[in-house]
């Protein structure tokens, strides 16, 4: 869920590197999805508009607790950390070992924390 679809589209495409797949008008919002560049016909990520008040409470509770709304696997977390920092992304948690994985956490600017991880 995102609080501003235009802002979310910019962040998820220009910063994170997704590609816009669908942008179908739906009243005041859009059915807006993005996909990974390596799998344009793979799973779509829905940038769902915040249009339901209880969902806002849920999203804020997650954010206040620092819990990521979703996570993406990356091949080289250190490189991705540096790349995103270079694009102005502020990390809540830098790359941190978690057993055999390494995780890092940043805000998407649309009300969510996003986690990236490397196994």
């Amino acid at each position: 869920m995102v609080d501003d679809q235009k802002k979310a589209l910019r962040f998820y495409t220009e910063v994170l590197g997704f590609i816009k797949k669908r942008d179908i008008p739906m009243g005041e919002h859009s059915w807006l999805t993005v996909v990974g560049p390596k799998e344009p016909d793979g799973t779509e990520l829905l940038l769902e508009p915040m249009g339901f008040e209880p969902a806002r409470v849920f999203q804020k509770a997650l954010f206040d607790a620092g819990i990521p709304f979703t996570m993406f696997q990356v091949e080289d977390i250190q490189a991705e950390y540096l790349r995103l920092q270079g694009l102005g992304v502020v990390f809540k948690m830098p790359p941190t070992p978690m057993g055999p994985s390494t995780i890092a956490l940043f805000a998407d600017g649309c009300g969510n924390y996003i986690q990236i991880f490397q196994v």
């Binding site: 390596k38 799998e39 344009p40 016909d41 793979g42 206040d64 607790a65 620092g66 819990i67 990521p68 809540k92 948690m93 941190t96 070992p97 978690m98 057993g99 055999p100 995780i103 956490l105 924390y113 196994v119």
Partner: protein, 133 residues
């Protein structure tokens, strides 16, 4: 510190209390990643990690949620899918990813990807998109 950061620290300490053992298990996994094309035996991986076979098996499963053999098979089958998408013949892919028997390869492949290597290759080449099938 947020609730999530506290949980990450708590779980890390609870699940992985010995960093040296975790490091050795990660190295063993990386060994499989580098050597899956050839014969990879449990004894040699465990030995490289300076652990008994039983201890290694238990620790690997604790860290990755599967046995080393299951992990090795998964690595081989993912690579097989990639090679098939490049257009390589099934028999060549079988050998290239470390399987000795073509029938065993076909059976494992179908169980993992839901269709035989030939079916998947055909679908990929027809659609031209590996992620679609």
């Amino acid at each position: 510190m947020t609730f999530y950061e506290q949980e990450v620290r708590r779980l890390h300490a609870l699940m992985y209390p010995r960093p040296e053992l975790t490091r050795r298990i990660i190295q063993a996994k990386e060994y499989i990643d580098r050597n899956f094309q050839g014969p990879v035996g449990l004894s040699s991986i465990a030995g490289n990690a300076f652990l008994s076979k039983f201890h290694f098996l238990r620790l690997f499963k604790l860290h990755y949620g599967m046995t080393p053999h299951q992990y090795l098979t998964a690595v081989r089958l993912r690579e097989a899918r990639r090679l098939l998408a490049e257009g390589l013949p099934v028999s060549q892919v079988c050998g290239a990813v470390g399987f000795d028997s073509i029938s065993s390869f076909k059976g494992l492949f179908k169980r993992y990807w839901g269709r035989t290597p030939s079916m998947l290759k055909k679908a990929i080449l027809e659609t031209g998109v590996a992620g679609k099938v």
